[in-house]
């Protein structure tokens, strides 16, 4: 038996990589078809972001910026929906803007999904929330709105003159908002918000990110420049769990449903790494022997 296992290990590096692709694909597919309902435990990073938002004054005005597109939608869209629900459930005034052209479509989709719920049907566009849409210019737009919103956003996403929007009458610059939340998948994104708006004007900021960007943001969290981070799909699932914990929502969201597949896939990858290392050492031992 040990001889067979040893032979298997010796030949592991000759394994067709397509078999690995297939196993990973099946490991992701099965939990999507048969949900396992694995528990989701919120981490400190997500809890910090959630509690910072939750503890804002009741009459707070918040700015949420969409900096992601369809390619990172599976990760960031669930957190966009949860954060918007959180804002509206707390009664905050919400200013939506986009630094990515695709962000406008994502923002519209997220707003439609959230406002479709009967709890938020009474919210009035222009009074309770506004979608300013996309403006090109990356960090120059952020820098611009530290001086004037009206100079950078003459009209909103519905082509309404910004001076005719009641919500924007008291918001002349980004310094007039109480909190910034950046839904970020890269450049321009959360880092630019910290550099050009949050740090210079001392506006509290948090971010929901694609997994790949999280490592770049952790130093800002550690130094206190950013109030927690909602990190990738697990972060989104944790945020959904916190919404349930605080009684603001009552069902598992899309991210939590996807976490079963994520967890199983990670488990399979870890097993592959362990197996690959055992095979490597077994082969090296054999080569040394001869």
């Amino acid at each position: 038996m040990s001889g067979k296992f040893n032979a298997f290990l010796q030949n592991l590096d000759k394994l067709d990589r397509r078999i690995i692709f297939l196993i990973i694909g099946l490991a992701v597919l099965f939990p999507l078809l048969v949900p396992l309902n694995l528990p989701v435990e919120p981490t400190g990073l997500t809890r910090d972001a959630f509690e910072t938002i939750h503890n804002l004054p009741d009459d707070a005005t918040v700015l949420i910026s969409f900096e992601y597109g369809p390619s990172t939608k599976p990760e960031i869209h669930p957190m966009a929906v949860s954060v918007l629900r959180h804002f509206f459930a707390r009664g905050y005034k919400v200013v939506v803007m986009c630094l990515w052209p695709d962000g406008l479509f994502m923002a519209r989709e997220a707003l439609d999904e959230v406002l479709n719920d009967e709890r938020f049907r009474d919210l009035e566009y222009g009074v309770d929330y506004v979608n300013l849409g996309y403006r090109p210019g990356n960090e120059a737009v952020i820098k611009g709105i530290t001086k004037s919103f009206a100079a950078n956003f003459t009209v909103d996403s519905k082509q309404t003159d910004i001076s005719e929007i009641p919500l924007m009458r008291d918001i002349r610059t980004v310094a007039d908002v109480d909190f910034i939340f950046s839904l970020s998948a890269g450049y321009p994104g959360a880092i630019e918000w910290v550099l050009y708006a949050s740090d210079p004007l001392q506006i509290p900021i948090s971010s929901g990110n694609a997994s790949i960007q999280v490592n770049q943001l952790l130093p800002y969290v550690k130094s206190g420049q950013m109030k927690g981070v909602v990190a990738g799909m697990p972060g989104a699932a944790e945020y959904e769990a916190l919404m349930v914990e605080y009684g603001l929502w009552n069902t598992r969201g899309e991210a939590a449903k996807s976490m079963d597949a994520q967890s199983i896939a990670h488990l399979v990858i870890v097993l592959f790494i362990i197996l690959g290392n055992i095979a490597y050492y077994a082969k090296r031992k054999t080569q040394k022997k001869y």
């Binding site: 996309y134 740090d199 597949a261 994520q262 990670h266």
Partner: protein
Amino acid sequence: MYNDVFGAWVAVFLTLAIFSYLYKDNPFYKLAEHVYVGVSAAHWATIAFWNQVRPNLFGRLWPHADPETLTGFNVFWYKLYKGLNLISDTVFPENGIPGNQEQSFMYLIALILGIFMLLRLFPSIGWISRWSLAYVVGMAAGLRLYGYLSSDVLSQIQGTILPLWTGNLGESINNIVLIVGVVSGLFYFFFSVEHKGVFGKISRVGIYFLMITFGASFGFAVMGRISLLIGRLKDLIEFSGKEYGYATFVLLIIMVVTILVTSRKDKEVAE
């Protein structure tokens, strides 16, 4: 409804076509790849023109104005615009670009620099485009310098000056790890001294910290990629239903059979 079904079939086809590369390079993948490149380029060009060039450049040079209110230089200036209006009434509608932009002739500089950039298409005078590039580089460097200096350098140094003992064991360990990591990492990137002796040992610790950082980054990258796979598979599951005409199953069977048949034929030709 028909639009949704058609969209679902296109989405399923493109997803499966891209996934088919995992088996081997094939015409489906090539088609999807070329469609992606073409559509992305067109999408970005369109978005850039309608959201950036038209409102922010032409809109500030020729904002919508009542012809009867025009005075002085603007009378001549809007006569030039009429020329543009003759080229395209959609892009340059009568009496100026709609919106509420204020007129600013400063944007003529941007227009000229933009035209310079396009001169790259003519090799003999393409060198003029370097002036535009110089402006972009200078502006970006100036804009970013302050931000990075303040937030990435000063605030991060401030964030590293931490007490080694805070009264809380866990927090103290975190602080010690952070300080050791930063200092040893800086030692590793100091190349003016040979990395041996005590210096070499500290820089080696820095390497370990860097390796852990790269490992964490790789872990996050894997997590992100799996999330994207989950997103695509969710769509494939959704579009496999009757309301979408079993798009996933039908296209999967067609593509698998086609790829296997062409693979076999290729093998026979090679033999």
